[in-house]
C-alpha cells in the first residue's frame, strides 16, 4: 500500500516548520497539518502612543469588541488579554482534551503556533548543557547556525551576555534601547567586575526580532505595539516561513485538522483526527510522522497511541515578575520604544542554579495591568503610576525547569490531565533571587519596588518540556537521540516534549535547532532505507 505522504508534520509552529524545511527541500512529499486558527483582528499599524492619543476606536483592539481583556482578567499573562492574540490561545485545551489540575495549560491551535504571541527570546545552550544531550554537540551547533540565519536574530556579540546566549556570526545589530535601559546598561558597565563577582551579568537581549528587514519582513520601528501584534513582521512567527515552504510543490498544508490518533497499518502510520469545520474524521497515511503540536498536545497523542496510562513527569520553569524603578530618571518623557526584552540578565543562585530574566519598557502595556496590584485606592493608584511608570521597567525571572514538580497523565477516556506544583526549594530560591537582584540593581541606580516581586503560578511560564525526553537508551515513554518514540518506530517528537532538560534560558531556538537536526536525520533515514 502506498502512503499518501512520506512525512506528516503535525503542527505548524517553530518546531514543525524547522523540521519540515530539510524534508521539503530534500524532495519528500510532506503534509503539514495544524489547528487552523486565524487572526480575526489585525494588529495596529500606527505606533502605540499615537493611537492612544488619537484613536477613538482604540478600545476595540486594546480591550476587544467582546471585552476579551476583561474576560481574561485573571489569566497569568498580559498576552492572554490582548484581543488580537485571542486566536493564538483559543480552543487549545478543549480541542486537544487537556485538563488542568492546579497547573496552567496553554498551547495553540493557530497557524504558526505560540510563536504568534511569544516574547521572541532566543538562546543557545552552553557547551556543558549541550554535552548533556544524547547526541554530538557539533550537530546542534550546525543546526543553531542554520536556524538563526533563516529566522533573523538580533543582539550583541560582545557584551557580558554574549557567551550566555552563544556567539552567533549572523547576528543583526541589537534593537535600540529606550532611555531607562540605556541608563541601566551604562551604569552596569561601570561596575561590571564587582557585579560579576556577585553572580549578576547584564547584557543586550538576544531576540528573534529584525533590526534589518529580511524579504517581506520589515525591521522593527519601535512602535511599542509588540504585545498586540507586529504588523511589520519584525517579530518572528513561524507563519512567515510558510510561504517559502509553499513554493515547493511537494509541500501540502491542511489547516483546521486536529490530530488525536496514530495507528500502525502494515508498515505505515495512519494519522487521524477531526476537521474543525465539519467535525468529520479523516486520516492520512505516511511512512513517518513528526509531532510538533506543542508539548501537551504531542504528549497526549503519544501516550494515547502507546496506551500508557502512568503519569509522566514534565519540566516547567518557575517564573516571577517585578517592577524596577529608576529614581534618577523620574519624569522622563514617554517615547515610542521596543515592547519586548531590551536587557537580559543571568543570576547565579545557590546549588549552582542559574536564573535568567529580562526587562521591558512599560510603554506598550496598559496601566490597568499594574493598577490592580498597587495597594492604593484606584484613583490615587493611577495618579501614582502616571508619575512613576515612565521611569520604570518591568522585569521577569525564570528558574530552571526541574524545579516545578509537574506531571501529565493520560486518563482512561483519552484526555490528558496536567497537574503540578512548585518544589519546596522554589520559594527560598525566589527569595534569594529577589535579594540578589535588588542589591545588584540598586548598585546601578534602580530599585525593585517593594511588594512588586511576584512569583507566578505553576505553568504560567508556558515553557513546558521534557515529557518524552530524548535518551541514548530510551525506555517506554521516552524518545531516542533522534526523537523517535520508543515503541513507535517512524514517529518522531520535535517540540518541547523531547527536550531532556529545561534551563532557565529561552528554549525556542534550541527547539528549532533540534527539530532541524531531527528533520535532517529523518531525511537521511528515509533515503537510506529507500522507502
Amino acid at each position: 500500500m502506498t502512503a499518501n505522504f512520506d512525512v506528516i508534520v503535525v503542527g505548524s509552529g517553530p518546531s514543525g516548520v524547522s523540521a519540515a524545511y530539510p524534508l521539503v527541500e530534500g524532495g519528500l512529499r510532506v503534509l503539514m497539518v495544524d489547528g487552523g486558527m486565524q487572526p480575526s483582528l489585525l494588529p495596529p499599524t500606527v505606533d502605540f502612543l499615537s493611537t492612544r492619543a488619537h484613536d477613538a476606536e482604540q478600545w476595540k483592539w486594546m480591550v476587544g469588541k467582546n471585552f476579551h481583556a476583561l474576560g481574561m482578567r485573571d489569566a497569568v499573562s498580559p498576552k492572554l488579554r490582548a484581543p488580537s492574540m485571542a486566536y493564538v490561545f483559543d480552543g487549545f485545551s478543549c480541542d486537544n482534551r487537556i485538563d488542568e489540575d492546579g497547573f496552567i495549560a496553554i498551547g495553540s491551535l493557530a497557524k504558526g503556533g505560540l510563536s504568534n504571541a511569544w516574547g521572541c527570546g532566543v538562546a543557545q545552550l552552553s557547551e556543558d548543557q549541550l554535552a548533556d544531550l544524547p547526541f554530538p554537540v557539533a550537530e546542534m551547533r550546525a543546526s543553531y547556525a542554520r536556524v538563526s540565519r533563516r529566522i533573523g536574530i538580533s543582539g550583541s556579540n560582545d557584551d557580558d551576555m554574549a557567551d550566555y546566549f552563544g556567539r552567533d556570526e549572523f547576528l543583526q545589530s541589537p534593537i535600540p534601547m529606550d532611555k531607562p535601559h540605556t541608563h541601566l546598561l551604562h551604569q552596569y558597565e561601570k561596575r561590571r567586575v564587582k557585579l560579576h563577582a556577585h553572580g549578576f551579568k547584564l547584557g543586550r537581549s538576544r531576540l528573534a526580532v529584525l533590526s534589518t528587514g529580511i524579504s517581506d519582513r520589515k525591521a522593527c520601528n519601535l512602535s511599542s505595539n509588540c504585545l498586540f501584534g507586529c504588523s511589520r513582521g519584525s517579530l518572528y512567527s513561524a507563519v512567515y516561513e510558510l510561504p517559502s515552504l509553499r513554493k515547493h510543490e511537494n509541500f501540502t498544508e491542511l489547516s483546521g485538522f486536529i490530530v488525536d490518533d496514530l495507528n500502525r497499518d502494515n508498515n505505515l502510520w495512519m494519522v487521524s483526527g477531526k476537521t474543525v469545520a465539519s467535525g468529520e474524521r479523516i486520516s492520512f497515511s505516511a511512512s513517518r510522522v513528526v509531532l510538533a503540536a506543542g508539548t501537551l498536545a504531542t504528549t497526549r497523542i503519544v501516550l494515547n497511541a502507546l496506551n500508557h496510562c502512568h503519569s509522566v513527569p514534565m519540566l516547567s520553569s518557575p517564573s516571577a515578575a517585578f517592577l524596577l524603578w529608576l529614581p534618577g530618571l523620574l519624569g522622563t518623557q514617554r517615547l515610542p520604544s521596543f515592547g519586548l526584552g531590551q536587557l537580559s540578565f543571568a543570576l547565579s543562585l545557590r546549588d549552582n542554579i542559574s536564573a535568567f530574566g529580562s526587562t521591558f519598557s512599560t510603554t506598550g502595556i496598559l496601566m490597568s495591568e499594574f493598577a490592580r496590584h498597587i495597594p492604593m485606592s484606584r484613583r490615587y493608584g493611577v495618579d501614582l503610576l502616571k508619575g512613576l511608570l515612565s521611569s520604570c521597567v518591568v522585569g521577569n525571572l525564570f528558574l530552571p525547569g526541574q524545579l516545578t514538580e509537574a506531571r501529565v497523565r493520560l486518563n482512561s477516556d483519552g484526555s490528558l490531565t496536567v497537574s503540578g506544583a512548585y518544589s519546596d526549594s522554589v520559594v527560598p530560591l525566589m527569595d534569594e533571587a529577589r535579594k540578589k537582584l535588588s542589591k545588584a540593581y540598586w548598585s546601578i541606580g534602580a530599585l525593585i519596588l517593594p511588594g512588586s516581586f511576584t512569583i507566578g503560578l505553576p505553568g504560567g511560564d508556558i515553557h513546558y518540556a521534557g515529557t518524552l525526553p530524548m535518551r541514548c537508551e530510551p525506555v517506554l515513554g521516552e524518545t531516542s537521540s533522534f526523537g523517535e518514540v520508543k515503541g513507535m518506530d517512524g514517529v518522531y517528537v520535535v517540540d518541547g516534549a523531547c527536550l531532556p532538560a529545561l534551563s532557565a534560558k529561552s528554549h525556542t531556538l534550541t527547539l528549532m535547532a533540534n527539530a532541524d537536526r531531527i528533520g535532517r536525520a529523518i531525511l537521511i533515514n528515509i533515503r537510506g532505507s529507500g522507502s
Partner: protein, 427 residues
C-alpha cells in the same frame, strides 16, 4: 429561520421584526405601507385584499399580526376573517408554520367586533393545526398602539378613573411578547393550540395606570372611583358613532376581560417576564439606567472627569454581557459623589463576594476609561508637561490623597458597616 410578519409596521410588529433580526433570523415585513427604514425585506400586504401575499419559497414561519385596530377605517368582519383563511390556506400549502396573534378579549360572544373577529380566526387557525398566542396587556417600547394611547391619556389628564369593582389586566412587555413569539416559532416540540402570554399575577387596571404615571412619566396622578355599572349605563346611551369615536368599546372589553392562566404557558416556553416597573422605564429595563449611573460614578472616580457616552455604553455592555445576575447596587450617595468611592476602595470587605464584584467593576471602569484618547491624557499624561517636578508632585499628591482617605475610612467605618448590613445584597 425565515419569518414573515404581517402587520410588521405595527406596535408589536416592529419589535418582533427587530428582535428576530437580532437573533439572526431572516425577517420579512408585510404591511400596507413600506416602512420608513427598510432594514429587512418587505412585501405588500393588505387585509382588504383577499388574494394576498405569495409565500415565497424558503419561508418557515408566518406570524399574522395584522388586524384592523383603527375604529375609523372599519373593514368588514367577514373580509378580515376571509383574508386570514386565505393566509392559512397558503401557509398549509407551502408547509409554513402559522402563528396567529390573537387577543385576551377573543371570545365567540365578545362585546367588541375586534374580539369576535379574533375568535373566528382562532378557530380557523386551530382547525388547520396552527398556533394561537393570546397576549395580555401589552406595554413598553415606543408609544404606539393601545399602550401609546393610554400613556397619552395619563399624561394629559390629571385625574384618572379607578373602576370599581377593579378590572384586572395581565401585563406583558412588548419585547417579552416578541421573544415568546420567536420561541414558539423556533421550537418544534410545541403542540398546536392557544398560548396565553401575560403576567401570571393580574393587577388592577388603575394600578397599571398609576405605574405608567410613576415609572414612565415620572408624575403622580389622582384616581377617581368610578363604578362600572355607571360607566356601562353611560356607554349604552351613546350612539354607535360616539362610542367608536371615543374608543369606549375597548373599555367594555376591559371590564369583560377573562383572567388567563398564563403560568403553564410561560413555563413551557421558559419565558420570564420583566417586572412592570423595569419594563415601563423608558430604556425598557430599569437595570440599564442603574448601570449607566454606576458607570458614570466609577469612571468619573478613575478618570477624574465626566466620561463620554461611548465610555458609559461600553461599560454597561461589558457588565451586561459578562456578569451573571448578581445583586449589586451602589447607594445613591456614591453615584452622586463619585469621589466617595474612595471609602469603598479598600482590600477587605465584610462580604468578600461583594468585594470581588466591586473590584471587577472597578477594573472594567479602569479599562474603559484608559482605552480612549481622554485616557491617554489621564493615564499617560499625553500633551501635559513632564519632568521630575511634575512626576514628584503627582506621586506626592497620590500618596497624600490615599493616606487622607484611609484616615477618613477609619472614622467612617462604623457607619459604612451599618449601611452594608442594612441594604441587603447592596452597598
Amino acid at each position: 429561520m425565515k419569518i414573515v410578519v404581517t402587520g410588521s409596521n405595527g406596535y408589536i410588529g416592529t419589535r418582533l421584526v427587530r428582535l428576530g433580526s437580532r437573533f439572526g433570523h431572516s425577517m420579512v415585513g408585510a404591511s400596507r405601507m413600506p416602512p420608513s427604514s427598510l432594514s429587512v425585506p418587505w412585501i405588500k400586504f393588505d387585509l382588504c385584499e383577499p388574494d394576498c401575499l405569495q409565500l415565497t419559497s424558503g419561508v418557515d414561519i408566518l406570524v399574522h399580526l395584522a388586524a384592523n385596530t383603527l375604529p375609523e377605517a372599519r373593514i368588514d368582519e367577514a373580509i378580515e376573517v376571509a383574508t386570514a383563511k386565505k393566509l392559512i390556506g397558503a401557509a398549509l400549502a407551502s408547509k409554513v408554520k402559522f402563528i396567529f396573534v390573537s387577543s385576551q378579549t377573543a371570545r365567540q360572544d365578545a362585546p367588541t367586533s375586534y374580539g369576535r373577529i379574533k375568535w373566528c380566526i382562532e378557530q380557523e387557525v386551530l382547525a388547520a393545526g396552527g398556533w394561537v398566542v393570546r397576549p395580555g396587556q401589552v406595554y413598553g417600547g415606543e408609544l404606539r398602539g393601545l399602550y401609546g394611547q393610554l400613556v397619552k391619556i395619563v399624561k394629559k389628564s390629571p385625574l384618572l378613573p379607578k373602576f370599581l369593582p377593579l378590572p384586572v389586566v395581565q401585563t406583558i412587555h412588548v419585547d417579552d411578547l416578541a421573544e415568546g413569539l420567536l420561541r414558539i416559532a423556533v421550537r418544534r416540540d410545541l403542540k398546536s393550540g392557544v398560548y396565553c402570554l401575560g403576567s401570571s399575577t393580574p393587577i388592577p387596571f388603575s394600578t397599571f395606570l398609576a405605574e405608567i404615571a410613576k415609572s414612565r412619566l415620572r408624575c403622580r396622578r389622582a384616581f377617581v372611583p368610578l363604578p362600572i355599572g355607571l360607566v356601562n349605563l353611560f356607554i349604552a346611551q351613546l350612539s354607535e358613532t360616539w362610542r367608536s369615536r371615543l374608543g369606549l368599546d375597548r373599555l367594555r372589553s376591559l371590564f369583560d376581560l377573562p383572567v388567563m392562566n398564563t403560568e403553564a404557558d410561560l413555563d413551557q416556553l421558559g419565558l420570564s417576564l420583566r417586572p412592570l416597573t423595569s419594563g415601563l422605564h423608558p430604556s425598557g429595563d430599569g437595570r440599564r439606567r442603574q448601570l449607566l449611573r454606576e458607570a458614570n460614578a466609577l469612571i468619573t472616580y478613575v478618570l477624574k472627569e465626566r466620561p463620554s457616552n461611548s465610555m458609559l455604553r461600553r461599560y454597561v455592555r461589558a457588565v451586561e454581557g459578562s456578569r451573571v445576575e448578581r445583586e449589586f447596587r451602589l447607594l445613591g450617595i456614591f453615584l452622586s459623589y463619585p469621589i466617595l468611592l474612595s471609602l469603598l476602595d479598600k482590600k477587605s470587605w465584610p462580604d468578600p463576594a461583594l468585594g470581588s464584584e466591586f473590584f471587577w467593576r472597578m477594573d472594567a471602569a479602569t479599562l474603559m476609561s484608559e482605552s480612549t484618547p481622554e485616557g491617554a491624557v489621564r493615564f499617560l499624561g499625553y500633551g501635559q508637561s513632564h519632568g521630575p517636578l511634575t512626576s514628584t508632585l503627582s506621586i506626592v499628591n497620590a500618596i497624600a490623597g490615599d493616606a487622607l482617605w484611609r484616615l477618613v475610612r477609619i472614622f467612617v467605618a462604623p457607619i459604612l458597616r451599618y449601611s452594608f448590613a442594612k441594604v441587603k445584597g447592596g452597598i
